[in-house]
């Protein structure tokens, strides 16, 4: 048993499962976005704003943002533990990554529910 305190779920198994579940959600969100943009070639502000005004789209988008946050944390944490061997640098980079993910997540919520 190798102990870790900076990975997302504190367990390799939960990280592994979350990584796969979040990948599926992100793939569905990407497919939806690409499909929507292709089907609306003359997209105007009202339609775009209306899409994100609906509750189901906010749920879907927030789900995608949270999935993105978890997915990025798990993936980049793995990269730091593979390639950054000096502890001080590794912890600093992990802290920056986690802070950035938190900022983007809150920002995303603000964009979804703001204005």
């Amino acid at each position: 048993m190798v102990t870790n305190i900076t990975n997302f779920g504190r367990s390799g198994l939960s990280d592994w499962l979350i990584q796969r579940a979040s990948a599926v959600i992100l793939a569905l969100y990407t497919l939806f976005m690409v499909g929507y943009l292709l089907l609306h070639p003359n997209l105007d502000y009202a339609t775009w704003s209306g899409l994100f005004g609906s509750t189901w789209m906010r749920i879907f988008s927030l789900l995608a943002f949270v999935s993105m946050a978890a997915h990025a944390w798990i993936g980049l944490w793995t990269v730091t533990t593979d390639y950054l061997k000096p502890t001080a640098i590794r912890i600093a980079v992990q802290a920056v990554i986690i802070l950035a993910i938190f900022v983007f997540l809150v920002w995303g919520v603000q964009v979804l529910w703001g204005a």
Partner: protein, 236 residues
């Protein structure tokens, strides 16, 4: 005369400040010999050349090395399989500390093997004759018990290169599953608890280098997948 040009990794820490490649011309007399035979011919030219070998028939696992970029056992690898353009490059197994020439320090590899407790654990008093196993349960061990611990797989795995102290590696995980799959073993939940962290099993990225190089044709990636399935079934 059919000369083979062989480039060999040389390093003697007592006299060399850095490793270097040494060129040899070897006369194979046109025969498709094994790489180990070529090493024997090189040793006749330069007796300071160091490499491990023992059974010379792919059973002991001593002569694992990197031949033209691919790990394998020198004793069962014919020249026709590895030589490209009349050239052969021999290096030690990648990722492990070099003791001398083609001899590597396998301590970390063995430490990971030891960690998975590679022995049957059963506290039930033994029956009068032996612990019986159905033919079906015995079949589950095929493709697992044949590993000879040559380290070709683990030293071809980038995840093992970066974290040899934390990631068990394909060889160790194949053996971990060999005991998880054994119907006579009673330590399954303890074994699984030791493996659920982000490194021991889950640092495997499934690139299957281990499967590509295994000289015994075993499939550690499949075993790792089975361990993941057991962990998942146990924890959800």
């Amino acid at each position: 005369m059919s000369m083979l040009q062989v480039s060999v990794y040389r390093y003697n820490p007592e006299t060399d400040s850095a490793p270097y490649m040494q060129e040899f011309q070897v006369d194979t007399q046109g025969r498709d010999v094994m790489v180990l035979n070529v090493l024997a011919m090189i040793k006749e030219q330069d007796s300071s050349m160091a490499y491990r070998r023992s059974c010379r028939e792919g059973v002991c696992g001593s002569d694992g090395m990197n031949m033209n970029g691919k790990n394998g056992l020198a004793c069962i690898t014919p020249l026709s399989e590895v030589v490209k353009g009349g050239k052969l490059t021999l290096r030690p197994l990648p990722g492990l500390p070099v003791i001398r020439d083609l001899v590597v320090d396998m301590a970390l590899f063995y430490k990971q093997y030891e960690r998975i407790q590679p022995y049957l654990q059963n506290d039930t008093p033994e029956p009068a004759i032996e612990r019986l196993q159905s033919p079906e349960d015995r079949d589950k061990l095929d493709g697992l018990y044949e590993c000879i611990l040559c380290a070709c797989c683990s030293t071809s795995c980038p995840s093992f290169w970066w974290n040899p102290d934390k990631f068990v590696g394909p060889a160790g995980l194949l053996q971990a599953y060999r005991f998880l799959a054994d119907s006579r073993d009673e330590a399954t939940s303890e074994r699984l608890a030791e493996l659920e962290d982000p490194f021991s099993v889950f640092r495997c990225r499934g690139i299957m280098n281990c499967v590509a190089v295994c000289p015994k044709g075993l499939n550690p990636t499949r075993a790792i997948g089975k361990i993941r399935e057991m962990l998942l079934a146990n924890a959800t």
